[in-house]
């Protein structure tokens, strides 16, 4: 860990201004990811801008019938919020499937979006890693890649640069729900649709998302429809709790009787971002729920997937997980 300066920001404007003044500074919220990265010397901010006092700690109704989650609401408070639990149970379940109770008490919603990959090599300065040090190489491709990506790993140059995954559970549900991210930067406010927030590695794997330098997440907006009737969050991991997803599936269906009228499927643990394919989801429209239909959809979701050895099992596992999650959402069994 390097030595660093510390500023406690007393408002959004102050935080953004401090960051604009010092490009090597970093916002700190719960610190559950950033401090670990600093201890490993992966992150070496010259200044920590503490945003915990910013007034972004509430969950409020939005004009169009949805909810606004302040960036500094903790993961625990979000999952146990009455409205979230009732109207967005998919989100609540996804959050509670993540980390541990202690971590969720510290972790914030904004920080959850910004957490970095858990790739072993990214955390270990002794090994090459394109995400940590562009151009140094990717150790995972020929290494131990059990937790790595099978989708969206291509790059424009043709050489795969990075097979890291985004490790969040919460984000998989947010992708399925089509949340939006509210941000404030030196040039003002903007709204980023969730599908555009995280990105694929391409040949710039060091960039995780589309947030511009110096922008602060202020809130996450949930649209009115929480798919609270037919949903499932299925997380498969190496132990029953306190492990990142090998594969996770957020499935949300809108049903009229037996018939599916709207469907969302987002996958975690398989790509550099929560993985969606709206055109595949559309295949479900007008269909009645059955394992056969779900199997076809699962195959299509995994179209083009590629394994790298240790993670090749995810190709089959992800398909089975999709089928199971959709069946649960449709209350098939």
């Amino acid at each position: 860990m390097n030595s660093f300066a510390y500023t406690r920001a007393d408002g959004v404007t102050h935080a953004v201004a401090e960051r604009a003044d010092e490009s090597t500074a970093a916002f700190i919220a719960g610190g559950t990811n950033l401090i670990d990265l600093m201890k490993e010397n992966v992150a070496r901010p010259t200044r920590l801008i503490d945003i915990n006092r910013l007034p972004l700690t509430t969950i409020t109704d939005t004009e169009n019938g949805g909810l606004r989650l302040g960036a500094l609401v903790t993961n625990a408070d979000t999952a146990y919020d009455d409205k979230v639990a009732k109207n967005y149970p998919l989100l609540a379940e996804a959050i509670l499937a993540g980390a541990s109770a202690q971590l969720r008490n510290m972790a914030t919603d904004g920080g959850n979006l910004m957490q970095r990959t858990r790739c072993y090599y990214f955390y270990d300065l002794a090994t090459p890693c394109n995400k940590r040090e562009p151009g140094s190489g990717c150790s995972a491709i020929n290494g131990y890649n059990r937790i790595h990506a099978i989708l969206g790993t291509g790059s424009p140059t043709g050489d795969v640069q990075c097979i890291a995954t985004h490790p969040s559970d919460m984000c998989v549900a947010l992708a399925a729900l089509e949340a939006t991210v509210q941000v404030t930067g030196p040039d003002g406010d903007r709204t980023i649709p969730f599908a555009e927030f995280h990105r694929l590695p391409g040949d710039t794997p060091q960039i995780d998302n589309t947030l511009e330098a110096g922008e602060l997440i202020t809130a996450i907006d949930l649209p009115a429809n929480g798919f609270s009737k037919n949903y499932a969050y299925l997380k498969l991991r190496d132990r029953a709790s306190y492990a990142f997803a090998l594969v996770s599936v957020a499935a949300a269906l809108e049903m009229e009787g037996e018939t599916i009228v709207d469907a969302r499927i987002a996958l975690g643990g398989v790509a550099h971002k929560p993985w969606r394919r709206p055109e595949v989801e559309a295949m479900l429209h007008g269909k009645s729920a059955s394992n056969d239909v779900f199997q076809t959809v699962a195959d299509a979701m995994l179209d083009g997937a590629q394994g790298y050895g240790h993670n090749t099992f995810k190709l089959e596992l992800a398909k089975r997980a999709i089928v199971r999650a959709l069946a649960q959402a449709a209350k098939l069994n």
Binding site: T127, G143, L317
Partner: protein, 750 residues
């Protein structure tokens, strides 16, 4: 009135309150003014040489006092013998900062000393190293053809190599109507006790040549081991050094050898003549001893009726390039089962890794995890229930040593375990039981572990206030040593627990061996009983000399110690209080020191082991491969149970470990770098609460007056030994699939 006997009662852990309120101090928590802090730098290559190590940037940071490397290391003891600790395997022990050579990945190569921990850590990040790298070997499978016999040494005494073949395995195997041959594999595992390795050296300046005094707070499973190492390596007279370790936050074997933070802290303290603390990080907890990756082959043959006739068990495991670590992996089948034709073999492959180290049930859980799966497979082939099969192939003698067991209530373990588990309700057909998507299975396995006893010393003192203090330089790694020793002492002298204290973990106390091998209850327990009996005799002698003593003409055999008194057996009113005895001692405590020795003449005629029968129930998702252990019943024959509560906790801990070992645990090596990649507790998985469901422990009654005077067998390891195999067998029963590569992760079941 005292509550005798305490032995056999579920007494709460006497150190429990201090531990949960933070009063108990661990090695890293001791403080002293002007303490310096050390941070260790580790190599980032697995093999080669340091060409250049740049410490200038680190040294220029304000607050940095010194950086020690191989280049400026002060001169230390030269011969290997000075670096050999009590658990050192044959070979040449690793010496930190010895030279420029890199022998394994994450080898400690520099120590930064600074005024604060934070500065030391930051400075460490500024050190850069240029290496000359050479190709390393880290893959056991790829190098198994290099396997060779292990060299022998002191360690071999406790870990006998496999005996010579008996009968003719091949002939018997080929003739056997039922045969099983299979290979079993598991990777490296690291102990990862909660408490990080740490040493705080408090240095007091001395006059003259002796150079000052060292009080060393060390995380260790044996203060005697640490003091021998530190005194010899740093050439410090014993009178000037004391090692203290009152509490240990878990060991599991990792503290059986002095770890490198002890070396580093001593090096800096001696050189700088300052007090120094060195604490390792979790990542560094993966940079020394571990359970070795092992490949095993088991081949078994049985007659048409299911009588075992042939047994072959071989193991190939990794060791370092400089020491031959071995453990007993393959002998247990020969001890437990009756075949006349037995071939056992264990070989080592030296790799560029740190030397492996005993890890809970070392060898035993490795070997039994393979053997007991093969036995299950053989029973299945012979069409016999696995419990029946084991009863059919039961032996009351140890066929390998050709000796009777001192006691062996394993039959009773099978019976009581099966009954509690509801074994007979299991449909024997694999993949025949289900609950929705969950396939349900039940499996069982046998466990065995040596019941050893070492010599140990102890002191007992009846203090002037009438209280008893007993001490021995043993450890309590969380097992309950404090509690059971207090119980033994209180019972031997007829005192109440409140009037007895037991002290441990200090080299000023009489010496005891390292705490391992499940021998502490037997070893230190016998020493405590012996010394208290000796003290009793002394007290009786004093009592006889007291004016108007009621014992003037009594013999020692005619009195009892009860209710803080010495009483005539035939007339308890004829009594003298212990307080008045010590009062008559001229204002001094009455002390006695003695050694508790194992009765080797008696013990050598028997094989002495603890046994267990483990029954496990699992559910396996038919599509997703996720395994959950829904129930485990462990029936233990472990001799006399001194304290059912601490005993049960030991077994529960072993069962929880067994779940992790069967399903989760593995230090994963990336052979590109020869480096362990999941070196933190987020990615190195052990069982968490949510993985643990119903655990049930049965202690089967077992009397044994051969193992030691207390009749105890030790419970540290036996709780683990049979659990992974029982789970693997349950997974087979649930799914019809034999997974022989631990851990059984979901991908192996897809």
């Amino acid at each position: 009135m005292t509550q005798q006997p305490y032995i056999g009662k579920p007494i709460n852990r006497l150190d429990g309150l201090d531990k949960v309120t933070g009063k108990a101090k661990y090695a890293a928590e001791f403080d002293t003014p002007d303490l310096l802090h050390g941070y260790v730098v580790n190599s980032t290559i697995a093999k080669g040489k340091i060409k250049k190590i740049n410490t200038q940037d680190a040294l220029s940071l304000p607050g940095v006092v010194k950086v020690f490397t191989h280049e400026n290391r002060p001169k230390l003891a030269w011969f290997d013998i000075n670096y050999k600790d009590q658990d050192a395997p044959p070979g040449s022990p690793f010496r930190p900062l010895r030279d420029a050579k890199i022998r394994y990945d994450a080898q400690p190569i520099a120590l930064v000393i600074a005024e604060t921990f934070e500065v030391a850590r930051y400075a460490a990040s500024l050190i850069t190293v240029e290496y000359e790298q050479v190709a390393h070997l880290s893959d056991l499978e790829a190098n198994r053809h290099k396997a060779r016999k292990a060299s022998s040494g002191m360690a071999t005494l406790l870990k006998p190599p496999p005996p010579k073949p008996k009968g003719n395995f091949e002939e018997a195997f080929n003739a056997a109507p039922h045969q099983v041959t299979a290979e079993y594999v598991h990777g490296m595992e690291h102990h990862n006790p909660m408490e990080m390795f740490a040493t705080t050296v408090v240095f007091e300046k001395g006059r003259g040549k002796s150079g000052g005094k060292y009080t060393v707070y060390d995380k260790t499973q044996g203060v005697t081991n640490s003091i021998l190492y530190a005194a010899q390596v740093f050439d410090i007279p014993f009178k000037n050094i004391r090692v203290v370790s009152p509490y240990v936050g878990g060991g599991f074997g990792s503290g059986l050898r002095p770890q490198y933070q002890l070396f580093m802290a001593m090096l800096a303290a001696q050189n700088l003549k300052r007090s120094v603390k060195v604490v390792l990080t979790r990542q560094q907890m993966f940079s020394f001893g571990h359970r070795p990756a092992t490949i095993q082959t088991v081949a078994l043959g049985a007659s048409a009726e299911g009588d075992m006739t042939a047994l072959y068990h071989s193991a190939v495991s990794e060791t370092s390039q400089f020491e031959d670590y071995t453990e007993v992996v393959v002998n247990y089948g020969g001890m437990l089962y009756p075949p006349e034709n037995v071939t056992l073999d264990h070989q080592l492959v030296p790799l560029d890794v740190s030397t492996p180290l005993d890890m809970r049930a070392p060898g035993g859980v490795t070997g039994m995890s393979a053997l007991e799966c093969a036995v299950d497979e053989l029973a299945f082939k012979a069409g016999i229930d696995p419990v029946e099969f084991r009863l059919q192939n039961y032996t009351d003698r140890d066929p390998l040593a050709d000796l009777p067991y001192s006691s062996k209530e394993l039959r009773e373990c099978f019976r009581q375990g099966a009954e509690r588990f509801g074994w007979l309700k299991r449909n024997p057909e694999p993949r025949s039981m289900r609950d929705g998507h969950q396939l349900v299975g039940g499996g069982m396995a046998t466990g065995i572990w040596e019941a050893n006893q070492m010599p140990a010393r102890a002191e007992a003192a009846l203090l002037v206030n009438g209280k008893l203090r007993v001490s021995s330089a043993t450890a309590d790694i969380g097992t309950g040593t404090y509690t059971i020793m207090t119980q033994i002492a209180a019972d031997t002298l007829g005192m109440s627990l409140d009037d007895v204290t037991f002290k441990l973990g200090d080299t000023d106390m009489p010496a005891a061996p390292i705490q391992g091998g499940s021998w502490t209850a037997a070893t230190v327990g016998t020493a405590v009983k012996t010394v208290c009996e000796g003290l009793a005799k002394k007290l009786f002698k004093l009592a006889r000399k007291m004016p108007d003593s009621p014992f003037a003409s009594a013999l020692f055999d005619e009195v009892v110690f009860a209710d803080k008194m010495i009483q005539l057996k035939k007339d308890s009113l004829m009594a003298v209080s212990l307080q008045s005895v010590v009062d008559s001692n001229g204002g001094a405590a009455v002390r006695h020191t003695s050694t508790g020795f194992p009765n080797i003449l008696k013990q050598r005629k028997y094989t002495r082991s603890a046994h267990s029968a483990v029954f496990a129930e699992v559910t396996v998702d038919e599509d997703l491969g996720t395994v959950r252990v829904t129930r485990i019943v462990s029936a233990i024959a472990g001799g006399r149970i001194l304290n059912p509560k601490t005993a049960r906790s030991q077994i529960l801990g072993g069962m929880v470990w067994g779940i992790g070992k069967a399903l989760e645990e593995e230090s994963v090596m990336d052979h590109q770098f020869g480096r362990i990649m999941n070196h933190n507790l987020a990615e190195y998985h052990v069982a968490v609460n949510a993985d643990v469901q119903a655990l049930d422990v049965i202690f089967v009654e077992e009397h044994d007056d051969i193992v030691n005077p207390l009749g105890v067998k030790g419970l540290g390891e036996i709780g683990l030994v049979g659990v992974p195999a029982a789970i693997a067998n349950a997974v087979f029963h649930a799914t019809g699939k034999r997974i022989r590569n631990l851990p059984i992760t979901l991908d192996k079941l897809l």
